[in-house]
Amino acid sequence: GAGVSQTPSNKVTEKGKYVELRCDPISGHTALYWYRQSLGQGPEFLIYFQGTGAADDSGLPNDRFFAVRPEGSVSTLKIQRTERGDSAVYLCASSLTGGNSPLHFGNGTRLTVT
């Protein structure tokens, strides 16, 4: 079946602009996660959704970052007033139930802020 889909695969934006990154999880997966991976590092947790609600947003670095999942399926990560330090690969993952069920990752969106 279809895996986790992320669009766009690449995004280049200017410092100060607003961007939206989209994630389409595996059908039927209730849990959805956003992670960020900087060069040479492992994925770093940003936010976790169970259904429509953000159950844990403790990894969001500041209030410029926001994510929604209005219908419990597709999620959008929104970054306002982008900074060069936001450049990274943003990974979305879903899992069947959350908890200790394995994460299934998408291919990521590579964000470059110039």
Partner: protein, 113 residues
């Protein structure tokens, strides 16, 4: 402060031999551990996991060993194949918050034909 560490950024192994990838963690609350494999331009793919109630879990050519007292886990690949060449990440989940996994920085494995 990194709670999960992979101290070897790279490893090179001959095809057919054993690959051993190591991971250390600092948080004694971690109760669930996973290994992921990542090819370039793709997302990480789940490989194998282990709960802290076990010290070993095996799946085909892949075996994960957990030493709780040393806060150390390792992934053994036997026999190694060229297609195993990828970056391997270990990850750990907190006993009370499995929904936030902590990842190491990865080890790049190169299996030479």
């Amino acid at each position: 402060d990194q709670q999960v560490k992979q101290n070897s950024p790279s490893l090179s192994v001959q095809e057919g031999r054993i690959s051993i990838l190591n991971c250390d963690y600092t948080n004694s609350m971690f109760d669930y551990f996973l290994w992921y494999k990542k090819y370039p331009a793709e997302g990480p793919t789940f490989l194998i996991s282990i709960s802290s109630i076990k010290d070993k879990n095996e799946d085909g050519r892949f075996t994960v060993f957990l030493n709780k007292s040393a806060k150390h886990l390792s992934l053994h690949i036997v026999p190694s194949q060229p297609g195993d060449s990828a970056v391997y990440f270990c990850a750990a989940g907190d006993l009370y918050n499995f929904n936030k996994f902590y990842f190491g920085s990865g080890t790049k494995l190169n299996v030479k034909p």
